[in-house]
């Protein structure tokens, strides 16, 4: 009986530690996803400047060249572009994305969609640059939040677990 109790206490501590760890990982994931978007936008810019390929093909290429969950957004854009125009499908794909990025990040990403496929190459590149600067501020914000919260949640999880065990003891 005593041994079982000890095992259960250990399980409680382990569980709350992993919960804390999961929460702290969310902040890291948000930073990673925003950085993925940044690199994707850079690829986008280069492709527009040098290949003159249609937007749909460029998005397909981007979704192939990045690995993380961010590529689902670009795949979704390709899919929606079958029936809708570029702006609508970009906004829809960003809005439906199931990622750690928050609403503010989504608004920043949507600035890309406003003139997508409506101007000449120079205009497109300027627009990508603009959304890259927005993205840069969001990355900075996300990193600050990560600094502030990630460590906190890690320790908070462990300590809450120990507290629960002491109360139950």
């Amino acid at each position: 009986m005593e041994v079982l109790k000890l095992i259960l206490y250990a399980l409680v501590i382990l569980n709350s530690t992993s919960i804390g760890f999961l929460i702290s990982q969310k902040y890291q994931k948000r930073v990673d996803e925003l950085k993925d978007f940044k690199s994707a936008f850079t690829i986008f810019k280069t492709k527009i400047r040098f290949t003159y390929a249609p937007l749909k093909e460029i998005f397909e290429d981007i979704s192939k060249s990045i690995q993380s969950r961010t590529k689902t957004v670009f795949q979704a854009v390709c899919l929606y572009m079958e029936n809708e125009n570029a702006t609508e499908s970009w906004n829809k794909a960003i809005e439906e994305a199931t990622m750690e990025i928050n609403q503010e990040d989504k608004e920043a990403l949507k600035t890309l969609g406003k003139l997508l496929g409506k101007t000449d190459v120079e205009g497109q590149i300027n627009e990508i640059d603009l959304s890259l600067t927005f993205l840069e501020t969001q990355i900075k914000k996300a990193e600050q939040e990560k600094e502030k919260n990630a460590k906190l949640y890690k320790t908070l999880g462990t300590i809450t677990g120990i507290g629960i065990v002491i109360i139950l003891l």
Partner: protein, 64 residues
């Protein structure tokens, strides 16, 4: 009353103190306050039986 109760309360005290430190360092003073309050309430619920015991003993000792 066994000595384990004292150790338990001491443990809760240490945990609450650490939590308070961590939360104030992260700039969440209001939540630090709340955890301290929660700690006080938990300890009170643990000792309330002992306190009522003490009152009952006092009553019987002085025949009140």
């Amino acid at each position: 009353m066994d000595i384990n109760l004292l150790f338990k309360i001491a443990g809760i005290g240490i945990i609450v103190a650490v939590l308070h430190q961590i939360l104030t360092k992260a700039g969440r003073e209001d939540q630090a306050m709340m955890t301290t309050l929660a700690g006080v309430v938990i300890v009170l619920t643990i000792v309330i039986k002992e306190i009522s015991n003490l009152f009952a003993t006092v009553r019987t000792v002085f025949n009140l």
